[in-house]
Symmetry: C2
Subunit: 328 residues, 2 copies
């Protein structure tokens, strides 16, 4: 019998605040360029005060991916924690409006909905400073066993390892998934995140993870090498499918002893925010809807190209659907 | 002695929620296309629930204008009411980050910060549904007499007539302005708003208003005629300067018995939100910084063109500054 959801994502539910900055903003504030750094409420308020005027858009890595899958027409769900506040309502609205099943109860009378200050430098790279707020409250109570069993794949982000309760909830979710014949997909999220949880992530790769997403930096961080070819050979065969993105050089899909190279589409790069998330959206949508792995990878890089050609981590549904139609 | 501010705006402080919709969204929800309609909290929640996923950006008509003036390098201030909530902090941040002096105290423990649901149809026109929230609390207490006296021009939006206390505060602000040698600029805001307050606006034109902004529809609504030429001749000589925008046909500046026709710049229209607001920004900035009226009008239409070539009512500061540099 067909399962209700193709993909059930679990992640940090975040609203992005995006603004263009000069390079000096990164250096003056001691930010780690292109990375995601966790910050506390005080630091977030201070950094925001120094940022230029911005635009707000729902974000969160796996949230962007499942929103993309739903906009492409896939059956997607999401588990994540927002507060019962204005940004929480914006996040919930956007997920629901995109067609994502999002049942997680809001956090009441506690920390506000998470925000991510996204500083976009003139080279179109994004540097992210995240205040986790309500996301820190994600726990076992938010994991719905029947929903996991009724999903083809659960998709979890490495960022969740930054909070103990969320990490434990993810471990249990992975166990529930395998008990129910649900596949487990995972993203390494960020090279510094890999650095924080290298042993855990390595064990997950040798354990419950079936499908791994990573970019070149994250994979090199995982194996503590600067040699990408070496890192590729180390991940080969460790998971059923490894989908490795390589920026403007496209992506490499490793599966069943084969390597599929997928080219990136040339595009004017405006803002790289969400590129990897929408690659995962296109790849997972394709893989769940009858595309072979190479073609799924091509849909992934096409979705990523569309994303970086505009501001923010979520392109418009009409643009994604037009792109998908070109694959028919 | 030079006054501290060139322009002090008074308006409804609003955060926009912008989303692309089909034409059917407008008809199905009985919206008045291209107009601004006031709605209550329940209707706003219902309409939002039916809207596609969106993007958020600080808005408000006169707020957009003063933000534009400040981004161009002018000395601008703003009086408007937000709540002490997430969207209120976003609005305040953006004004301050743009360089606008914004001292209005937030509203505590009452209605939330205003939002405007902006439905953008495929023809790039915007249809706006505004929940005024905290804006309804704008009153005399927010008017700073010394700040008005220390401004060259105060700029007030007709939208404020929708709330009794705000309207009275504006009338007093206009009196304070004239007593201090401060000029009064006013925008008719919206053709339906003109319809609601035609007599008041006519009296203001014959009274304290020195500089009037309107578009063709608003001016025709004011004089209850479909004949734009007739409406133009009726406003001529009634105010010191009338700046009338005509969409893709540019603008007409009436002053001292002369008419200056200003062409619009051809551009790919993405979203018309904020076009009139940024015309006013360019025109007022130019007029306050040594441009003759025709050239100020040209800066106005150039700022409007820039605005409609992107999503949302506030283009980026760097783009506005680049545009201004081309006028040197």
């Amino acid at each position: 019998m067909e399962k209700s959801l193709q993909i059930l994502g679990i992640g940090n539910a975040i609203v992005d605040i995006l603004a263009r900055v000069d390079e000096s903003f990164i250096t003056d504030h001691n930010l780690i360029k292109k990375a995601m750094t966790l910050i506390e409420a005080d630091r977030s308020a201070q950094l925001y005060a120094d940022m230029p005027a911005g635009r707000e858009q729902s974000g969160g890595s796996v949230a962007n991916s499942v929103a993309g899958i739903a906009m492409l027409g896939g059956r997607a769900g999401y588990i994540g924690k927002v507060a019962d506040d204005q940004l929480g309502r914006v996040f919930r609205h956007d997920m629901t409006a995109n067609g994502v099943t999002f049942n997680s109860a809001p956090l009441l009378d506690a920390e506000p909905t998470a925000n991510c200050l996204v500083a976009i430098t003139p080279d179109a790279e994004r540097t992210m400073s995240t205040y986790l707020g309500a996301c820190s409250a994600l726990s076992m109570a938010d994991i719905d066993q029947s929903q996991i069993a009724d999903s083809e794949i659960i998709y979890i982000e490495g960022y969740l390892w930054d909070r103990e309760h969320a990490k434990q909830a993810c471990r249990v979710a992975m166990e529930m998934a395998h008990a129910a014949g649900t596949k487990v997909a995972f993203t390494l999220s960020d090279a510094f995140c890999v650095d924080r949880y290298r042993d855990d992530f390595s064990q997950l790769i040798d354990g419950p993870i079936d499908i791994l997403f990573a970019n070149r930096d994250e994979l090199c961080s995982l194996y503590q090498t600067d040699d990408f070819a070496e890192a590729l050979s180390m991940i080969e065969g460790r998971v059923t499918v490894a989908a490795i993105t390589c920026g403007d050089e496209g992506a490499i899909i490793l599966a069943g002893g084969e390597r599929h190279l997928v080219e990136a589409l040339p595009t004017a790069v405006i803002d790289t925010t969400g590129a990897g998330d929408l690659f995962a959206a296109g790849f997972l949508y394709g893989a769940m809807n009858g595309f072979d792995l190479a073609k799924a990878g091509q849909l992934g890089t096409a979705c990523a190209s569309l994303t970086i050609s505009q501001v923010g981590p979520r392109p418009e549904a009409a643009a994604l659907q037009e792109l998908l139609a070109s694959f028919a």
